[in-house]
Amino acid sequence: MFSLDRWQEIFQTLSKNKLRAFLTGLSVSSGIFILVILLGVSRGMQNGIEKEFQQDAVTEVEVWTGTTTVGYKGMNPGRRVQLENEDFEYTTQKFGDQIDSKSGYFGRWGAIINYKKENGSYEFAGVHPDFQKVENATIISGRFINASDIEGNDKVAVIGNRVKLDLFKDKDPIGEYINISKVPFKVVGVYTDPGGEREETRVYLPLTTAQRVFNGKNQLRMLSFTIKPAATFDEAVQNAAFLSDGLEKSLKQRHLVSPDDTSGIRVFDTLEEAKRIYDLLSYIDLFFWIVGICTIIAGVVGVGNIMLIVVKERTKEIGIRKAIGAQPMSIIGMILQEAVFVTFVAGFFGLFGGLLLLEVVGPQIQSDFFANPEVDMNVALSTIVILIIAGALAGFFPAYRAAKIKPIIALRDE
């Protein structure tokens, strides 16, 4: 296999037919090229979607309420379930060992907020200090809501970057007063959210203040939690499912909602969502692999065809070789090695070209669901293994045919 003479023979025959060798290689190159691009795109989509998920902490569990649909313990269906501060305290106490950060939520959409003459319609939300972690929000200037704001019912607000740009333009908003439904609040911070503009049009207030000022009594619209970090993704999914299950059961019990009711109390588990999308992604990945491999097969069949022609053309030469003592194995080796060599070199160029294109064009692509297309080392290595196998397959049948050539017939062939 590694004898120098054999390699010399291969280079001799290839250089005799440069154009043919090149065209044969091209079909394999393009196959590998397409596979690499497809896999890169698939990875890009994966990265993009992962980025989308970063807008909220990936390990978030939310509890919402609605109206019941099933009668239970003497209660009629169609009853509105309302979360209250006591629910928050009860759940945080009960599930404290599973919960990392926690926050209640009381808010309203479409509140008119103005600063001097500038005004707009935004959502405001009374939250606990932990909500910053839940939302994955980053403070650009000032600070987020803190415990003493909650305690003192302070009229302070943390505004989204969009709100800041709308109302304050270039001015520093910290320390200024905005009016929310005509109630003045002091701006103490500006945040940005990886979820994009939509999530930056919110104004956060201390929960207690919001409930008191906007007539919320002790009502909550939502409870948000994040679970404690887990070692693996699967473990996190499991923990999140466990927590959401527990939350649903105990809250349904508290509010006398039937265990079969699906809308009275709803628990959203973003990890569950994430897992579903990841599953989808792995199907897309699988699909791309299949498409890519089919392309390679087309290329390899091309190589096989050409090798058949080569064997046909070299029938006489193979006959001569056999007449002077070439054994069938050495003929098979010769053809097989040539096919493997052509596919390997051509495939390597395809791989290199694909990687280069991803490297150059990848970073230019700006899209919500696409980021950093790339192919990792394992994938590159597996394509090379595929190539070697493909080359061997492409060469085998022509080589077998060559080995079957009878020297007497080959030599008669003028």
């Binding site: 006959g319 070789r321 007449a323 002077i324 054994q327 069938p328 050495s330 007497i408 030599l411």
Partner: protein, 233 residues
């Protein structure tokens, strides 16, 4: 060296079969120089193919240097061809993209001889046929006579027991033919057994024995007074 007993061979041509060899008995001693003559269709090429282990007889025995050649698989056949036999063809059958030297070293390559030794031996045989200075030319840069001389060198390279030549001068003019025959005679003088298939009488006269074949049977087997090719040149 060669012992043939009651050799039969027929070819299938569609539905009817063609009986080419109908019981050949024939032997060749070491150092002999035999020409096989006959009109086309007499079976002389078939006989040579069987002698060269390129084809197998249907019936009869073929002993080559004390070895019975029968039911060989491809691998063993290739080894015997390499070890026992050297071929010279009418159409030379050199590999076109290889130089004279590479062509001559090919049988040695299949014998597993190391590269350096191979080149040395090949050069030796090329020198023997007077083409040492042409060693790096490809066949299409050589004349017909030169090509045949390269083929002879190749046939000799593996140091075979028997040299088989199928119309070695068939594609050459008479002057070149005699030059080639002179080389073949010299090889025979050194003791190599040679069998030549030819239909040219002057070529046959340069061997030591003529075997006539007609319709698949040996009709005549006579020793001749060898005429030296050098007498013509």
């Amino acid at each position: 060296m060669i012992e043939i007993k009651d050799l039969h061979k027929s070819y299938k041509m569609g539905s009817n079969s063609l009986h080419v060899l109908k019981g050949i008995n024939f032997s060749v001693k070491e150092g002999d120089f035999v020409s096989i003559m006959g009109s086309s269709g007499s079976g002389k090429s078939t006989l040579l193919n069987i002698l060269g282990i390129l084809d197998e007889a249907d019936k009869g025995e073929y002993w080559l240097d004390g070895v019975l050649i029968k039911n060989l698989n491809e691998k063993v056949a290739a080894r015997y061809r390499n070890k026992f036999l050297g071929f010279i063809f009418q159409s030379f059958n050199l590999i076109n993209y290889k130089t004279a030297l590479e062509n001559v070293s090919l049988p040695l390559y299949y014998q597993g001889v190391k590269s350096k030794e191979r080149t040395e031996k090949a050069m030796h045989y090329l020198d023997k046929v007077g083409l040492a200075s042409w060693s790096h030319h490809t066949p299409n840069e050589l004349s017909g006579g030169q090509k045949q001389r390269v083929a002879i060198a190749r046939a000799l390279a593996s140091d075979p027991k028997v040299l088989l030549a199928d119309e070695p001068t068939g594609a050459l003019d008479s002057k070149t033919s005699y030059e080639v025959m002179e080389i073949i005679q010299n090889i025979n003088d050194e003791g190599k057994t040679i069998i030549v298939v030819t239909h040219e009488h002057d070529i046959a006269q340069m061997t030591k024995r003529i075997v006539h074949l007609k319709d698949g049977l040996v009709t005549d087997d006579t020793a001749v007074n060898q005429i030296r090719a050098s007498a013509y040149v």
